[in-house]
């Protein structure tokens, strides 16, 4: 498939935003249960939510560049019964709305107690909004992943690993961002976020390796024989039927050479996972905030490459019909 930059930026940016939202909610939970006794400033969550909102908004804007008729984009929310893309179109603004609510409630410090548990801990409105937001973040990860995973004949994508990896990579980048942010704000949650970022980045690395291994061993169900319906062992295309170019030749093939894919795969393995893990280990040891920020920048660049490869390595069965130039 041809990687579209609008979609690459959309999926990576909202990934960061979602991960950051998850991190804030997890951080608040960690703080509420009393894991740290240093008081937490309310504007930490408010500004953090704003930051997450900026990432999500960036993704949203980028998604409009993918549409030929952005003025009709509202129609894309109508088919949620059948279309994962439509569901994503609903879930994305919903997460953004909850971010506004979550950040806003923290900013106003409006936190009426909704219920009190047996251990005398309270569930207040901000925490409850956070839980709802986290649930929606997970739903959005599922929608985004399923857009690709539901294409059963694009066999590289048709796997639960696709959904899992979207969630893990997004969460990882969000937690790395959260760590840098917490360091900058001198929040006591920095160590908690750093631990989460470390864990999620390693988990994302494992998930991505699993999908690479899986995709190496794919048995393609379609062949030229099933495409044409002529079950001869020695069948080949003489002409695709036209000499000019067409949508079919552009949309379903990536512009790079085949040799580029393994190089880029190595590049993002290092940049999206290994290097950030090393940088974070260094930063954790030395308490360097700029090393966390650098880890985020390096990882984000790596995730852009990862997304490019994710599209490029997906082979569409229609390509069977377009093997011969001329």
């Amino acid at each position: 498939m041809r990687p579209a930059f609008s979609v690459i930026f959309l999926t990576t940016l909202i990934g960061v935003g979602q991960g950051l939202f998850l991190a804030l909610v997890a951080g608040q939970f960690y703080w509420v249960i009393g894991a740290t006794d240093i008081p937490e400033a309310q504007d930490f969550y408010a500004i953090g939510s704003l930051l997450a909102l900026v990432f999500m908004g960036g993704g949203l804007i980028s998604s409009f560049f993918h549409l030929a008729h952005p003025e009709r984009a509202w129609r894309a929310a109508t088919q949620w019964r059948t279309s994962w893309l439509s569901r994503e179109v609903i879930a994305l603004p919903a997460v953004m709305g909850l971010l506004v609510l979550y950040g806003g409630l923290h900013w106003l410090d409006w936190r009426p107690v909704l219920m009190t548990f047996g251990n005398m801990k309270n569930l207040d409105l901000t925490m409850a909004t956070g839980y709802l937001g986290a649930a929606l973040v997970v739903a959005l990860f599922i929608c985004t992943g399923m857009i690709y995973a539901c294409m059963k004949f694009i066999q590289e994508w048709a796997s639960p690993l696709t959904v899992l990896n979207f969630a893990l990579m997004g969460s990882s980048s969000g937690f790395v961002m959260a760590t840098a942010y917490a360091g900058f704000m001198e929040s006591p949650l920095e160590d908690f976020f750093a631990g989460g970022a470390m864990f999620l980045t390693i988990a994302a690395l494992v998930g991505r390796i699993a999908s690479i291994v899986r995709n190496k061993n794919i048995k393609y169900l379609s062949s030229l024989q099933s495409a044409v319906g002529l079950h001869h062992r020695n069948l080949r295309q003489l002409t695709r039927g036209f000499t000019a170019s067409s949508f079919n030749l552009k949309e379903f093939f990536h512009p790079g050479s085949p040799a580029l894919l393994p190089i880029l795969t190595m590049a993002y393995m290092v940049s999206a996972f290994v290097l950030p893990i090393a940088l974070m280990a260094f930063a954790w040891g030395t308490g360097s905030i700029s090393a966390f920020a650098l880890a985020f920048a390096v990882q984000y660049a790596g995730l852009l490459v990862e997304r490019w490869v994710f599209f490029a390595e997906a082979s569409h069965p229609q390509n069977l019909y377009y093997q011969k130039v001329a």
Binding site: M1, H66, L67, A68, H69, P70, R72, A73, R75, A76, A77, T78, Q79, T82, S83, W84, L85, S86, V89, I147, C150, M151, K152, F153, I154, L221, S222, L224, S226, A227, V228, G229, L230, H232, N234, L235, R236, Q237, L238, T239, R240, G241, F242, A244, S245, S246, F247, N248, L249, K250, E251, F252, H316, P317, Q318, N319, Y321, Y322
Partner: protein
Amino acid sequence: MSDPIAKQLALVIDLNVCVGCHACVTSCKEWNTSGWAGSMPDRNPYDADPSGVFFNRVQTYEAGTYPNTETIHFPKSCLHCEDPPCVPVCPTGASYKRIEDGIVLVDYDKCIGCKYCSWACPYGAREFDEESGVMKKCTLCVDRIYDESIEPERRKPACVLACPAGARLFGDIIDPDSEVSVAIREEGGYQLMPEWGTKASNHYLPRRKTRQVIHADELIRADNPLKKEGPLPKAKVGAPSLDDVTSW
């Protein structure tokens, strides 16, 4: 999509007959670019890197090893699948399948040009129109098959009418007595990529070989007791005959 529909219009393409002349390709473009489904723009038609929108393409394949090869001309357009994967994925509802006749269409006024449906078609049957920013595809000439200003026998897709070899049949594949159903049943009609469960409505009739077995004794005339080839002896004038023409 799982509700059974009463009627499913489709093409049946006879690969044994198709000569690969591309008459269906050009007639399709001619009819549709100026019709309901148009336009089908060409970009840079006289320049470097030309490209254009087509609903129908004819490709050519070869099977076997020289000299025992076979050339197969293979027209390909939207198959109007009975379970079309391209329809449920459309976020706007622009892509839809008509219940009255099973034709899969795009509503150009709703399409946002996200191209997701084209990803969901395993056959590459949809082509994006950059000029108008919407997805396009074969409509089975929905704007002519019901047009009452056209004489009834010509209310068929342009490609079917154009095919000089008669390789394209058009009809309702749910009606068991239609020309297309009979052809599918009796000539071994098959679907493309059945592995994806799309239940493609368009069917293809396979290449067929017509062979005659001639036994050695059939090479010699059985009614020739002298085993000599040559003009038959003429009967005498006035000799009895069966019908005044034939002689013994």
